[in-house]
């Protein structure tokens, strides 16, 4: 049968409006027709192209830039391109991880949007054969004064908890920031880290012809079908339900799906497996077939549906959650089916792999789509969009930034800022201990989770400082990578690799594309210098409303390995009488600092530069001390600067500290609140000090005695006293108080 006979669109079917509603421009549409051998697509095919060639699936604006990121290294088992990245953690084990955005759905419906974001990223990880071991979430909300913010914070946090707690994966870390640029575009970036056996990793490739394609999990509904409201209304007789339905998460079903998949994966029935994420059935089948170099034919009559009269278009584009597609070894269907039935899940053979190289979908006896696979998967346009780099800003001299009236008041004020106050209100709503391996709970630099049943642990963190990226995309991108590296190092972990979530505005604006390009180049520079490659990631563009773009936010998720869980560090002061040491160079950099932004009210100058050579040297030194068992209490200096870091260590231990400004010629507020990079504070036994200093000096690493731990307050050279109780009150109360005032 010639596909042209059955597949030609009705005369009036594909209007320019319908093409536009599918997010394809004129050139892209022409490319679609060309891919089909010169004919026009029908509506179903247009829908398939629109999702496969969307920014989300095809990375058409970002691909040329992403290619600049280093993705290899001896530790890398699988870099970007699969569902998640994989790194070797020794003993035949691997860490599998990825971060992904669910920004827009979370703005529309914060609870379900965030919940399904968590569900989606976990499927990316367990589809590769890994059991999820830890979740993280990087969140950005609008200004606290904006009337939507509270509602969004509350919904997103309970949605993340609602999903992760139920499925029983600990949520151990993340970030929360507030800035008015996110008023209309919040960011919800979810990360999952899983553990797998190296010889039991599963990939998406569907090799072999004549193999059964199997659908498992939940039934398909009309969830999250974007594209054409108008076009889909045409075949939806229920006129009051035109709005694309929000995806609702079902963590219980996901838990069953996780256990069922892992049970099946213990055997050898699976050839390829892929979760149904964005663009559900379409992208999962296209990607599996393309990677395996085969064709695929789906019989949509066999797809388990939960709603009546679903069309081919709807089934192919539905984003219903908690579903997976697998290609099995022929003859193994019955055994597999038993497992899924035991867990109460749908199991249906819905297609077969073919040698045609085409994606074919049949429904009710008709061919609804017949498209060359290669074109769908690989022929999306690739844009090298015009970009302009932001202007370099001057480095602010410390003396130009006014001193506070009172140093101690300034500290209290900083510690209670929305961007710096305690996130306890958030993480206490997350089960961060389930699975019994969280040895470093939220609140420290990176969370530490044991590799179950071993002496090893993984350290995990997410970081980015968007105001730095906005001021200098290159330095900001560098800094984000370096900060994760530093956070991992501060626990004693050897950083292994990162995942990223690139959240930016409209890439068709050259200045936004400039931010993207700059951030990528900065990230690449840091990754290269630190031998810390990118193994997975995600891009979220068009985060803007009425021309107001978000701050450029390349969120970085870092994973590191602690070989001996007994040799790790916490971010608390160790003991009364400990000596505090500062490792790293002090320059008193106040440009783009929180002190400058929130206490002086200015956002000026260049962000703190990151010296990657010093970063590497200082970090390796600190990690060496932890690994040797010489130091067990370390915190890095980041947002807010030195005194803030000391305060955090003091509150964590309920032990105060008297610190000294040292001998450098800098104003006190620059020493205390400057955000110089590459620094760590160590709390050490008095009798270790000489040895550590000598060893640092022999390596030309800047180190100085910062002070002495003890008492219940903080002081600077015996003055400017701040009681820990007052500090704690300031630090702990902002978020709960904010959230309790409706």
């Amino acid at each position: 049968m010639s596909s042209q006979d059955t597949l030609g669109p009705r005369a009036d079917e594909i209007t320019p409006e319908i093409v536009a509603e599918h997010g394809l421009n004129r050139e892209e549409y022409d490319r679609v027709c060309e891919s089909l051998g010169g004919r026009a697509p029908n509506l179903t095919e247009l829908g398939v192209f629109s999702v496969m060639w969307s920014e989300h699936c095809s990375y058409k604006s970002s691909r040329v830039w992403l290619a600049k990121l280093p993705t290899t290294g001896p530790q890398v088992i699988c870099g970007p391109g699969e569902n998640a990245g994989i790194v070797d953690i020794g003993d035949g084990q691997a860490a599998v991880f990825k971060m992904e955005s669910h920004n827009h759905p979370s703005f529309i419906e914060p609870y379900q949007g965030a919940a399904t974001g968590v569900g989606g990223i976990m499927r990316d990880v367990f589809t590769m054969g890994a059991r999820p071991a830890a979740n993280l979430n990087a969140l950005r909300f609008g200004s606290p004064d904006h009337d939507k913010t509270r509602h969004l914070v509350s919904g997103v946090v309970s949605g993340i908890g609602g999903y992760g707690n139920c499925i029983g994966v600990p949520t151990v870390g993340g970030e929360v920031n507030f800035d008015k640029s996110y008023d209309g575009n919040i960011l919800v970036n979810a990360m999952c880290v899983g553990l797998a056996e190296v010889d039991k990793i599963f990939y998406a490739a569907a090799s072999g012809v004549g193999n059964p394609v199997v659908y498992v999990g939940s039934k398909t509904g009309r969830d999250g079908i974007h594209g054409a409201t108008m076009a889909s209304a045409e075949f939806d007789d229920d006129s009051d339900e035109k709005r694309p339905t929000v995806q609702v998460g079902d963590p219980f079903t996901e838990k069953l799906l996780l256990e069922a998949c892992l049970e099946l994966m213990a055997g050898d029935a699976i050839i390829g497996i892929q979760d149904m994420g964005a663009a559900g059935l379409t992208s999962s089948s296209v990607e599996m077939a393309d990677k395996g170099g085969v064709g695929i034919e789906l019989d949509l009559d066999l797809v388990p549906c939960r709603e009546e009269a679903m069309t081919a278009y709807e089934m192919l584009l539905s984003e219903s959650q908690e579903r997976m597609l697998m290609v099995l070894t022929p003859g193994r269907e019955d055994g597999a089916k038993k497992i899924f039935e035991k867990w109460g899940l749908d199991f249906a053979v819905v297609g077969i792999t073919t040698d045609t190289g085409r994606f074919v979908a049949k429904h009710q006896g008709k061919i609804k789509a017949d498209i060359p696979l290669d074109t769908l998967a690989n022929n999306a346009p690739k844009y090298n969009r015009p970009w302009i780099a932001g202007e370099k800003r001057p480095v602010i001299v410390p003396d130009e930034v006014p001193a506070p009236n009172s140093l101690s008041d300034a500290l209290i004020k900083l510690m209670s800022l929305p961007d710096l106050c305690s996130r306890r209100w958030v993480w206490e709503q997350y089960d961060h201990m389930v699975m019994g391996d969280t040895v470093g709970r939220p609140g420290g630099d990176a969370a530490v989770v044991r590799v179950h049943g071993t002496d090893k642990s993984l350290a995990v963190t997410t970081d980015v400082t968007p105001r730095y990226v906005a001021a200098d995309a290159h330095e900001g991108g560098k800094q984000a990578v370096a900060e994760t590296w530093r956070n991992l190092t501060a626990t004693g972990a050897q950083p292994l690799a990162i995942t990223d979530c690139m959240n930016f505005g409209n890439p068709q604006r050259p200045e936004i594309m400039g931010q993207f390009a700059g951030a990528i180049e900065g990230m690449a520079e840091a990754c290269n210098a630190l031998s810390y490659p990118v193994v997975s990631g995600n891009v979220s563009l068009y985060n803007e409303t009425n021309g107001q773009a978000i701050l450029p936010t390349p969120a970085i998720g870092g994973v590191g390995l602690i070989k001996n869980t007994e040799r790790r560090a916490s971010a608390a002061i160790g003991h009364d009488g400990d000596i505090l040491l500062l490792v790293g160079t002090e320059r008193g950099h106040l440009g783009q600092s929180l002190y400058q932004r929130d206490l002086v009210g200015k956002s000026e100058g260049a962000p703190p530069p990151v010296d990657l050579t010093a970063e590497l040297r200082n970090g390796n030194f600190v990690r060496g001390l932890i690994e040797a068992g010489d130091v067990a209490h370390v915190h890095d200096c980041s947002d807010g600067g030195l005194w803030v870091a000391v305060s955090e260590m003091a509150m964590a231990a309920d032990i105060g500290a008297d610190i000294t400004l040292g001998s450098q010629q800098l104003p006190a507020h620059a020493i205390l609140f400057g955000e110089d990079q590459g620094r760590y504070i160590l709390s050490v036994d008095a009798d270790q000090v000489a040895k550590i200093i000598a060893s640092a000096e022999s390596l030309a690493i800047p180190v100085r005695k910062l002070g002495v731990a003890g008492g219940k307050s903080l002081r600077i050279d015996g003055e400017h006293e701040v009681k820990l109780a007052d500090l704690r009150q300031a630090h702990e109360s902002w978020l709960p108080e904010y959230m309790n005032t409706v």
């Binding site: 529309i108 419906e109 609870y111 379900q112 939940s218 509904g221 009309r222 969830d223 229920d238 339900e241 339905t245 929000v246 995806q247 609702v248 998460g249 079902d250 963590p251 219980f252 079903t253 939960r306 709603e307 219903s320 959650q321 109460g344």
Partner: protein, 85 residues
């Protein structure tokens, strides 16, 4: 006579929105041996005692409460019944 009203508010999921709770209840009823069930949907039922005698004012107030707080209009519908108490 009392001068109060009681509002009975039913909040239900819109058609087509997945109802994981209803689905799980359906399955559980099935394994308890209850057959012949086609579908189960779970919603909320909220009773509000109001110091208001005017029915149309009461209705307007409850509608506002539903839109603002009680129902999540992205995925839920609501229905109000009023009763003099």
């Amino acid at each position: 006579m009392d001068k109060n009203m009681k509002a009975h508010v039913k909040i239900t999921l819109k058609k087509g929105v997945l109802d994981p709770q209803g689905k799980a209840i359906h399955q559980a009823l099935g394994s308890l041996g209850f057959d012949g069930i086609d579908q189960v949907r779970q919603g909320k039922y909220i009773e509000i005692d109001l110091a208001e005698t005017d029915e149309s004012k009461a209705r307007a107030a409850i509608e506002k409460m539903c839109e603002k707080l009680l129902a999540n209009m992205v995925i839920e519908n609501y229905a109000i019944e009023l009763e003099q108490t």
